[in-house]
């Protein structure tokens, strides 16, 4: 029967604390956690509780159990606002949410939480040693949200059908790109969004009924110019120039009438 087993099964609190701390320092987080788990509920308000909660929260974080660590670290931050470890713990709490953030095509509730936490952290501790990392993580998450919004808008463009919903689909794609461009004006996907918006307008105009064709061709030119402004060098240049030439040619017909 190892020392750990003896202490684990014993009722006494003090040895659990001592051994837990020792295991924690040695890097045996799993067993340290098991011991801490037993004594954490009864320790509230007692001296040493802060240290215990610090180690406990850290154990979860180091064991990559981010669901628990996000909660435990947040609790620490609320409970011990004057702790000297507060900066480290706020950062790790935020980073736990960062780790929970799923791939862009799923619900981004944890991403939004993480961004908020990281932002709060950066506002509170602008001189922190973790500032750079926090800022990098926040940017990465923000990029994920942008990608998500862009991908959703691009989905409408992708699914334009030729059936009875023809016009609806074009307008939906244009509206979706507009929403994206409004919500993320400085996004790195801006140029792509502008191009596909033009592409949608181009397809709508070319396939339009005669009655509305002129107006739609002019819209396409408008969107082309918007894209052109933001695209110095673009993978779409060749395609875009081909389309706009076609649009101009079509518009010519109306001017000649």
């Amino acid at each position: 029967c190892s020392e750990y087993q003896k202490v684990y099964k014993n009722e006494e609190v003090a040895p659990k604390y001592a051994l837990g701390e020792k295991l924690y320092n040695e890097g045996d987080y799993k067993r340290a956690r098991n011991l801490f788990e037993q004594i954490v509920p009864g320790y509230a308000g007692k001296p040493g509780a802060e240290k215990l909660m610090y180690m406990y929260g850290n154990t979860m974080f180091l064991m990559e159990d981010y669901i628990t660590s996000s909660y435990q670290l947040e609790r620490f931050v609320k409970k011990y606002p004057r702790s000297e470890k507060i900066e480290e713990m706020s950062f790790k709490s935020a980073k736990s949410y960062y780790m929970l953030s799923p791939r862009f095509s799923l619900d981004q509730e944890d991403t939004n939480k993480a961004i908020l936490k990281l932002q709060n952290f950066m506002n509170t501790y602008p001189k922190s040693e973790y500032f750079k990392e926090a800022s990098d993580l926040a940017l990465e998450l923000d990029d994920k949200l942008q990608l998500k919004a862009y991908d959703i808008a691009k989905g409408y463009h992708h699914r334009i059908s030729s059936g009875t919903q023809f016009r609806d689909d074009y307008y939906a794609a244009i509206a979706a790109f507009n929403n994206f461009l409004n919500d993320y004006p400085g996004s790195k996907y801006k140029e792509k969004a502008l191009y596909y918006k033009f592409d949608t307008a181009y397809l709508l105009a070319i396939n339009s009924t005669e009655r509305r064709k002129e107006e739609r061709l002019k819209d396409a030119i408008k969107y082309y110019n918007k894209w052109k402004q933001s695209a110095a060098e673009s993978e779409f240049t060749e395609e875009a120039e081909k389309h706009i030439a076609e649009v101009n040619q079509e518009l010519e017909k109306f001017n000649n009438q």
Binding site: G45, K46, P47, P102, S105, L106, D107, E109, K148, D151, I152, G155, Y156, H158, R159, S161, G163, T164, Q165, D168, D169, Y171, A172, I174, A175, A176, N178, N179
Partner: protein, 824 residues
């Protein structure tokens, strides 16, 4: 705060003591107070009063004081004196049944160890008195008697005696009306739904007096008058009077006022719909009795958000910010003129469409199903349709799907919709082992309904499986010493992601071996192999409407026999047969919302399965072949028979037409009627060649897939044994009608349960000349279904067959059917 200190000067806490504490640790109290050793503070000051406030707010003490015990230079010694509130020890309840004691303790939180405050006692008393008054015990009295004792450690404890005297239920002896001229008192009593006077004949409704119900019933009387034009009706009631026999009398006074009629109705502000249309929709005309209740209902029915009223006419068709108010513009004698003022507001468009809660399913799988798109005109119908589509996916808990209308902006005329989804398990595992057919049979079946095939080699995606692209993948293997079946199928609902066209492919391989009775072992030299491939494409259509799907499939089966005699091949024991067929189906599915328990909509489809008409061009004279066969039968020439049958079944030639229709109607609240009709016909292009012994219909029993080597179709008909309503070779034509009443028991996503009662009838026929749709076997019965995401659908039905099966002496009677697998 006392002591030898100078008010207003700064001190540093040297030590804190605590007195009066019995159950709390000293350190805990100090920590909780926020004071600590070494803290500098002004006495008296904010920090001490905050400490007192904090301790007070804990609701654990009846008294908190802080004293200065000693001052030494600028060092100060403090003492926190607390008086702990006594805790509850034992609760004794008298006056009501023992079974209810626990509920009372729970509802009032009278647990052992709860701190006894004055507040706790008062709220408990009030709660209980109210509770019994609501049940009709108007004269209930509750007495609380707390007795304080001390335990061995000196802690104060309270034993609480709760004495409940409910008294008798107060019954209503009479209800008296005064002032009613237009309606008889009995009519008015009838309008009161939950307040009834005592009547020995009426046994279902109580005659208890319940204040809340009574007030509602008074409103009902008012409504009754208002419906008949009495706009100014006043219904008042004095307090109930007690009679000598502990009953009460209710006195209701009515001031009827005048009876009014409708005068002119004018609409203002309407640009979208013309007056005439709106007037028709309103359904009230000049000269009608003024029915205030109906008028309100026709404009905006508060009791039904989906009502067919004017407000919804506007709101569901894009005018989300519209507002309709009826205004009385003039009263001429007993006639009232109206103006219906309509403010249409801006035509509303959807702005952002978003989805939350999808923690497994990828965005594109969800967004592509949504009928609401950015920039579209707002339509409630489209939101409802979107919910249906999401429910039908089967990835989300259909009962928890909800649309949240967000950020309505009347100035821009935009609104956002956020669909909130909750993922549910959508993979199923089947693992079976058992003895049967002379040996061990093992089955392993896996079916993943929300698979992601592109991530199949991506290690990261295995959490625990690559999920979220809405694809379906299933694998099944069944093996024993005598047979093995392997099957694989995959389907992608949106091939290419651009439009809803489902691509599916399935492969299967079956091998069967004979048992050698001499060696008592399997004889692998006598074998029967079947290999099958099916590739299908199904497209959702736009016309006639977008509930339609057109599906096409090509299927191929190869049968191979070696030293193996089986009934369907008649005389071939060494040979083969091929079944290549094209299937075309047109179906329409508008079931909503929950695929497990649809409450509305219908699902029907016609499918045709056709082989190539080989006999048109292969130059074989099948009439001659049939003659040769007759001769061979007469001569009992087995070799010739085998050769002829091999020629006959080399490529199977047939066509098969099927119809299957399901209709669901909600009859009352959650009671749903399912009506089903099925029909099938198997025919031959060439009568000389005859109808093939494959692909036949077997009617009767639970309708589960059986062991289908020969493309047979099992059609369920409860109340009769499996496949008992067809000849041994199977029918070539069948029909079936069924009515089923269903009621949900629980729609919990972890286990949905519903009960059903059914009536059905059907039969199969060997040839078209035998066919008689009214010559059917009838049955009725009841059953239950349980759907658990991990296991699929399970169920049991008890059916009674009313008709006599051929060869039976009497009607078939009761049968029990176990249902396994998804059947919806």
């Amino acid at each position: 705060q006392e002591g030898n200190y100078t008010p207003g000067s700064k001190y540093i806490i040297e030590d804190i003591t605590v007195s009066g504490n019995a159950s709390f640790n000293k350190q805990t109290i100090v920590t909780y107070s926020g004071l600590r050793k070494g803290l500098s503070l002004v006495v008296p000051g904010e920090k001490t009063s905050n400490a007192i406030k904090k301790l007070w707010s804990s609701n654990l003490f009846s008294n908190v004081n802080i004293y200065v015990t000693k001052v030494d230079g600028n060092a100060i010694y403090l003492d926190i004196e607390v008086t702990e509130l006594p805790t509850l020890n034992e609760v004794k309840i008298t006056g009501i049944k023992k079974g209810k004691h626990d509920d009372i303790i729970k509802e009032n939180n009278l647990k052992k160890g709860t701190r006894v405050t004055e507040n706790l006692l008062t709220t408990t008393k009030n709660y209980l008195e109210n509770k019994y008054a609501k049940e009709g015990y108007l004269k209930s009295k509750v007495y609380l008697n707390p007795v304080t004792t001390k335990d061995s450690t000196g802690k104060e404890l309270v034993n609480l005696v709760v004495n409940i005297d409910r008294g008798d239920k107060v019954k209503i002896k009479n209800i008296n009306f005064s002032g009613n001229e237009s309606f008889a008192s009995s009519k008015l009593k009838g309008a009161m739904k939950n307040t009834k006077q005592r009547n020995p004949i009426r046994i279902f409704k109580r005659s208890k007096f319940i204040e809340k119900d009574y007030q509602e019933d008074l409103k009902k009387i008012e409504a009754k008058y208002k419906e008949s034009g009495f706009r100014d009706i006043k219904v008042t009631s004095s307090d109930p009077t007690y009679n000598e026999d502990e009953t009460i009398s209710l006195n209701i006074d009515i001031k009827e006022g005048k009876k009014y009629y409708i005068g002119d109705i004018n609409f203002t502000g309407n640009t979208v719909y013309p007056d005439k249309f709106l007037r028709q929709k309103l359904g009230l005309y000049k000269g009608d009795i003024y029915n205030g209740v109906l008028l309100e209902k026709q404009i905006a029915d508060a009791s039904d958000p989906d009502a067919d009223d004017l407000t919804n006419l506007y709101q569901n068709n894009g005018y989300l910010f519209s507002n309709i108010v009826p205004v009385e513009v003039g009263v001429r004698n007993d006639t009232i003129d109206f103006e219906i003022r309509i403010s249409e507001g801006k035509l509303t468009h959807f702005k952002n469409i978003s989805v939350v809660g999808n923690d497994k399913t990828n965005d594109h799988v969800i967004y592509r199903e949504l009928r609401t798109k950015p920039g579209q005109v707002y339509s409630k119908q489209k939101i409802v349709r979107s919910l249906r589509e999401l429910g039908q996916l089967g990835f989300f808990d259909a009962e928890q799907l909800s649309p949240n209308i967000k950020n309505p902006n009347p100035n821009e005329g935009t609104v956002d919709v956020e669909y909130s989804v909750v993922e549910k398990g959508s993979s199923q595992v089947e693992l079976q082992g058992g003895f049967g057919g002379g040996g061990f049979i093992g089955t392993l079946g896996l079916s993943f309904n929300n698979f992601s095939i592109r991530n199949i080699f991506n290690k990261e995606a295995y959490k625990p499986l690559p999920m979220g692209d809405g694809q379906r993948l299933s694998l099944r293997a069944q093996a024993s010493r005598f047979f093995q079946t392997y099957s694989f199928s995959f389907s992608e609902p949106w091939l290419g992601g651009r439009r809803p066209q489902q691509f599916s492919v399935s492969l299967s391989q079956t091998s069967q071996f004979r048992f050698d009775p001499v060696a008592r072992d399997v004889d692998r030299d006598q074998r029967f192999l079947i290999t099958g491939v099916t590739v299908g494409l199904a497209r959702r259509l736009q016309v006639p409407d977008d509930y339609f799907t057109l599906s096409t499939a090509v299927s191929f089966q190869h049968y191979n026999l070696k030293n193996y005699q089986t009934g369907i091949f008649q005389n071939i024991s060494n040979g083969f047969s091929n079944n290549l067929a094209f299937t075309v189906g047109l179906s329409r599915n508008s079931l909503s919302i929950n695929p497990i328990f649809p409450t509305a909509g219908s699902k029907f489809g016609v499918t045709g399965k056709f082989s190539i008409p080989y006999s048109l061009f292969n130059g074989v004279d099948y009439a001659d072949l049939e003659r040769q066969r007759e001769i061979a039968v007469e001569d009992n020439n087995r070799n010739a028979l085998a050769r002829i049958d091999q020629e006959k079944y080399k490529w199977l030639e047939f066509y098969k037409i099927k119809f299957d229709g399901d209709w669901y109607n909600t009859l009352y609240k959650k009671l749903v009627l399912r009506s089903n009709m099925q029909f099938g016909f198997l025919g031959a292009y060439n009568n000389d060649r005859g109808i093939i012994p494959f692909e036949r219909f077997f009617v009767g029993g639970d309708g589960l897939g059986a062991f289908s080597l020969d493309g047979r179709e099992a059609v369920g008909l409860r109340g009769y044994p499996n496949q008992s309503l067809s000849s041994t070779d199977g029918g070539t034509i069948f029909n079936k009608f069924s009515l089923e009443l269903r009621h949900p028991i629980t729609m919990n996503p972890s286990a949905s349960i519903f009960a059903l009662a059914f009536m059905e009838g059907g039969n199969s026929y060997n040839t078209f000349s035998d066919y008689n749709p009214f010559d059917i076997y009838r049955s009725a019965g009841a059953g239950i279904r349980i759907f658990m995401p991990a296991f699929g659908l399970l169920g049991i039905d008890f059916g009674y067959g009313f008709d006599t099966l051929p060869g039976q002496p009497k009607r078939n009677g009761w049968e029990t059917h176990f249902i396994l697998g998804q059947q919806f």
